[in-house]
Symmetry: C2
Subunit: 287 residues, 2 copies
Amino acid sequence: MRDFSSDHRWLSLNTATVRKQADLIGIVEACARHGIRTIDPWRDQVVAVGLDRAVRAVRDAGLELSGYCRGGMFVSDAARRGEVRDDNRRAVDEAKALGAPCVVLVVGGLPQYSRPGSDPSKDIAAAWGQVHDGIAEMLEYARTANMPLAIEPLHPAYAADRACVNTTRQALDLCDAIDPARSGMLGTALDVYHIWWDFELMDQIARAGGERILAFHVCDWLVPTRDMLNDRGMMGDGVIDIRRVRAAVEAQGFAGYSEVEIFSNDWWARPLDEVLRTCIERHRTVV
Amino acid sequence: MRDFSSDHRWLSLNTATVRKQADLIGIVEACARHGIRTIDPWRDQVVAVGLDRAVRAVRDAGLELSGYCRGGMFVSDAARRGEVRDDNRRAVDEAKALGAPCVVLVVGGLPQYSRPGSDPSKDIAAAWGQVHDGIAEMLEYARTANMPLAIEPLHPAYAADRACVNTTRQALDLCDAIDPARSGMLGTALDVYHIWWDFELMDQIARAGGERILAFHVCDWLVPTRDMLNDRGMMGDGVIDIRRVRAAVEAQGFAGYSEVEIFSNDWWARPLDEVLRTCIERHRTVV
């Protein structure tokens, strides 16, 4: 297991962590100030400053990317299928322009939440089917761009509105079904927040193998969690044994970034530099 | 699949649903008014009126029980193990006195939440081990009382503070390990709120078989969920296809009650009779 205690070479900042404090340009500048060399930007943050400007800012700052957030939301009613396909192809194109190593997929839940305006449904089994088909279709396009796709299992608390893929086993079942040859173009993004509770986690990380773990995200689970979406904890402030999970992914050969992704009304209210300093300190001490 | 549309013979009221409106005696009286013939009381509600008085009230009203909530919280530090064992034995004794068909087990999460005052820990694997051992020990006692135990997998949102058994698969793995003979004394309590999101649910219900489904609970998952614990929905107000799950458990031979268990600040604020009328109407139309 790599020693993170003396530097933060392997810290990546998911830019949603400080989305309320600055735009993407401001976040890139702050990363330079703090010696953070890697980010994972969100599409809306890229759109807000313009793709070309985002590409230049990343390049001029010498930043790498650890992923691009996000593609997916595959579940919709029939009228929106073309829109979903085109939207995900654009995500691949943007990721390519930015030099991302993968597009992170949040697959969508029920259609009325995944693609607002869709006819409402309670048929989660139909959603699972659409997710399978949507990833398979997107992967064809992603292969032509040589852009890997990383299925992110989300905590079951988000099954209805964000992602109906909720365990590492389920994500890997999709990988097996859609990319049985293990081409390297389809894998998982594992975020401790979503998967820490799973009694099968260690077995499923071993099943994934290093080549199907395309991203590794960290934050913490707070007790109590006061907001279902925006009360994630800073690493060390909650109950997740983060190091146990990192040890498991690294034992499979994963040698990438520990990407800090914190959706938190609390941390969004603090100064940008304080948040980044804290991320770095916790990266060294508890990740 | 049974037809619930014309009566509510198979509705049971989990008494937590109206815990803020009345004590257990008042709830029993309300059930009589509404023709509800079955309840599942909580231990603290029984304690509040006294066990003997609760037993008499249930008997005098001619009520049945569909379960007794709850045993469990097996995870603690070493100093509290004896207390945990004794507490769970008392739960079995109380269930026997009340004529319950099973004790529902909420197994506990990390020790500092499961048994407050315990030394804090982030070791969820240790918690899983304690849950296994705790159920095995409790089952020995329960066998002598001929009182079945029903492991309730709780939604993963409660893994830290309430139960580290979070899927039907995990609950059944425990049943297989502790009661491989399928004696009938150990099974599951399946609540749609906790398990609706699970891509393996139908397979695991089939694996359980009718004889290991000891209780079936209903409510609904609201989007958004504004409170992690106390914002469950009335059946029909959320996204769960309840009938699909009931069809699956009945296909395995389950012929017991659909027990309404709603923890909701919203429904707790409404008049008792309105809540029961609504439960009955929804039982007929969406359960």
